[in-house]
Symmetry: C2
Subunit: 192 residues, 2 copies
DNA sequence: ACCTACTCGTACATCGACGTCCACATTAGC
DNA sequence: GCTAATGTGGACGTCGATGTACGAGTAGGT
């Protein structure tokens, strides 16, 4: 029943989603005003396409999740768990850096169940991989898997923040993330 | 020139600072209202003691920094760098968990230079220790020290968040933090 | 016991962000 | 080129948080 949007309307919707993603990735408290302005669109126009700030956030996170899913789905999880995790980390780094604080914005405004969905998907992949690596002795198994997942996420966000602070460059970030996370997960090394 | 505060006034000030610390540690956006209520004090009374939200934040973070400094100052930094860092991590964990999101609140409301001071102090200790460990081959030296500091902080905050989410208990957190951070910093292990 | 310092509650002004309404301009699509 | 669909800016009402003002209690110190 809903007729297809007119061309310019579609363009604006895209611009708004894009701008929202970009802004919220760095400032989770960006106002609707800022977003509309960044999209080159009147605030009222934004409200024409999205009921709420919440509705907008919903679409934006939906997109982000979809992109994340599809990016991660392409990754080969077979082979040496360390190498596979390295690949996942590299991809995750790019996603984290792109979406950054969007998570924070979502946490503030979205119902908890929507967040579960967002987290469970990507996490499941990592968990499976971690468990395989633990069984094969590649990763340490003296810590809860959920904690190890949290560690990985923490490192990813730390890298994103460090880049924004200018402490490290976006180029070196993937390697740092990879090395650090793999080190944190490595089966414990006998000293000496 | 300022006469000493009356006893009840002093008590209230302490209650306010305490409540503010407790609330802001979990919700950096806690309102003045919430804080006053949690302190068992009228909102107006709070304003009697603190000009601003900023002024309150200032005192609270000042306290937090002081406590942090004195807690860390007691730690023996000599001996095996790994062991020493372990001690620092354990203490830092307690501090991080106590103060948690207070950092976020401070970042939002305080002038940047005040933040520098807060960060530089504790960081300097860790940096010194890291550098010693790098020289002695205990820690990997293929990453910027600042990044390693960021990693440690990230792990600390991750642990605090994980405890709040109920994923891990406050009891197991120190060990997890210690093991994970030391793993992340370990001189790279030759595979196999 | 008394004065003073402090507290309390309520009411009020301000501010910024959100969301809505309206009248008018513009553009897409046929 | 005409018409319906969209876009635009401005004005307006609401809401929650901040900060201030006042009058009346209440607890501390001497």
């Amino acid at each position: 029943m809903t007729r297809p949007l007119r061309a310019d309307a579609r363009r604006n919707v895209e611009a708004i989603i894009g701008a929202a993603t970009r802004l919220l990735a760095t400032d989770p408290d960006a106002s609707i005003n800022d977003i509309a302005a960044a999209a080159g669109v009147g605030r009222v126009t934004l409200y024409g396409h999205f009921e709420n700030r919440a509705a907008l956030l919903d679409v934006v996170t939906e997109r982000a999740i979809a992109q994340t899913e599809s990016a991660l789905a392409e990754i080969d999880l077979e082979g040496d768990p360390r190498d596979a995790l390295g690949r996942v980390l590299e991809a995750s780094w790019h996603l984290t850096h792109r979406f950054g604080a969007l998570v924070v914005a979502a946490e503030h405004a979205l119902p908890p169940d929507a967040l579960r969905r967002a987290h469970v998907g990507p996490a499941a992949r990592v968990i499976g991989l971690l468990e395989r690596g633990r069984d094969s002795g590649a990763f340490r198994s003296d810590q809860p898997v959920t904690w190890q997942v949290s560690t990985i996420q923490a490192i990813l966000h730390a890298a994103s923040a460090a880049v924004h602070r200018g402490e490290i460059t976006a180029d070196e970030a993937p390697t740092l993330v990879r090395d650090t996370a793999l080190g944190a997960l490595a089966a414990s090394t006998p000293r000496r």
